[in-house]
């Protein structure tokens, strides 16, 4: 990984300065990169923390020997840096590969007092996906407003690997087969830990008749970690 641009802007009228960082990363692995998560740390000349841009998740894509770029930004009060010529940017970035599985198509419960359940659990790579419960929240005060259909599913990480992202996606498919709306819920799962996911979709009551929920799971697993640092330069923009 290489930082190809690391600049700061002269402070504005409020005394705020901003930082723009661009990085290039080469995937040297056989695994395809589907996602990157990065953190930018800005330090002054004495390694004091000035600014941070963290948990920046990006749908980066790179096959073997391909390069992708990630941009990061931050801002801070300019008085936090006494000497900009000594300030530096540190970028930590991790790449992830994706695994995907369709869980199934499910009917929509007829009302908010009934539910649909899958009655089975599946194993998916390093994950155990417990049975799914589909239910409807209480109807809205005005019946013509959108009604909410939600999915409850617990997922256990059955490995010793920290899994950065597990994503449950639901797509509401109407009776004609059109995708009406989709929604996701995603979280990290620590080794041997379990997490609860509850994605939900909204639609008019009439649209829910005869509709189906297409539910799938994706997980993102670490490939490689990179870091780089660079001194900051005044932006020419």
């Amino acid at each position: 990984m290489k930082i190809t641009k690391a600049t700061y802007r002269a402070p504005d009228n409020y005394g705020d300065t901003s930082f723009d960082i661009e990085t290039s990363v080469e995937n040297k692995n056989e695994d395809i990169v589907d996602m990157s998560v990065s953190t930018l740390t800005i330090l002054d000349g004495n390694n004091n923390t000035v600014s941070c841009d963290y948990d920046r998740e990006e749908n980066s894509y790179a096959e073997k020997d391909e390069t992708f770029s990630v941009n990061l930004s931050g801002y801070a009060k300019a008085y936090l840096i006494s000497d900009f010529s000594k300030a530096k940017a540190i970028v930590d970035l991790t790449t992830y590969k994706k695994e995907f599985k369709k869980i199934g198509d499910f009917d929509i419960p007829a009302d908010h007092k009934s539910c649909i359940q899958s009655n089975n659990q599946i194993e998916f790579g390093k994950l155990r996906v417990f049975g799914i419960s589909i239910f409807r929240w209480d109807p809205p005060e005005n019946a013509s407003d959108d009604h909410s259909v939600a999915v409850k599913v617990a997922v256990k990480n059955i490995s010793d690997e920290y899994i950065q992202k597990v994503l449950i996606k639901v797509q509401l498919i109407d009776r004609t087969g059109s995708n009406l709306v989709d929604s996701e819920d995603y979280r990290a799962i620590p080794p041997n830990g379990s997490m609860h996911f509850e994605p939900s979709v909204y639609a008019k009551s009439g649209k829910l008749k005869g509709a189906k929920l297409d539910i799938s799971i994706a997980s993102f697993h670490q490939i490689e970690h990179y870091n780089a640092e660079s001194l900051l330069q005044l932006s020419k923009d």
Partner: protein
């Protein structure tokens, strides 16, 4: 514009929101860019309404930076979409040669090889610009690029049309 409309228009979603069944009336709030300067202000607004939001994100792009100004969301999405174009990749790959170390030249050529395999006629202008800059500033890489383009003509027939 209402908050719900803004989220729908740009396909912006909430990650790790809690509670799950919050009152949807929050989406009828008018999005005043004077009040909500950036996405951090939006997160704070949700928190004030007892809705915890860890991130805003756009499927197929990623998380939205908190310091991104609300009225710059369009630029953010356009830039993210541009990243998959050959034109962007050509320019981006060229950045590897900034403050070049010896090993970066090999990296640059590996990266260019992948891009050149997918180059179309409408990328010739950018490719030519890169070659002209290299010819002026880095003759070694220029010669290697020329050789690379010639070698790849068998794999990407469109490169046969590119005159060096």
């Amino acid at each position: 514009m209402k908050l719900g409309e803004f989220f729908k228009n740009y396909n912006i979603r909430l990650a790790y929101s809690y509670p799950k069944n919050y009152n949807l009336k929050i989406y009828t709030t008018t999005l005043e860019t004077k009040t909500f300067k950036n996405f951090l202000d939006l997160k704070k607004f949700f928190n004030q309404k007892n809705i915890l939001v860890r991130n805003f994100y756009i499927p197929d792009i990623g998380t939205v930076p908190f310091n991104l100004k609300i009225n710059e969301i369009n630029n953010f999405i356009e830039y993210a979409n541009k990243k998959s174009t050959i034109s962007f990749k050509l320019k981006n790959s060229f950045q590897i040669l900034n403050n070049t170390e010896y090993s970066d030249i090999d990296w640059y050529l590996r990266s260019m090889k992948n891009i050149l395999l997918h180059v179309k006629e409408n990328n010739f202008f950018e490719l030519n610009n890169i070659l002209q800059i290299l010819k002026k500033n880095n003759l070694t890489v220029y010669k290697k690029m020329k050789a690379l383009i010639k070698n790849l003509r068998e794999n990407n027939i469109i490169l046969k049309e590119f005159k060096i």
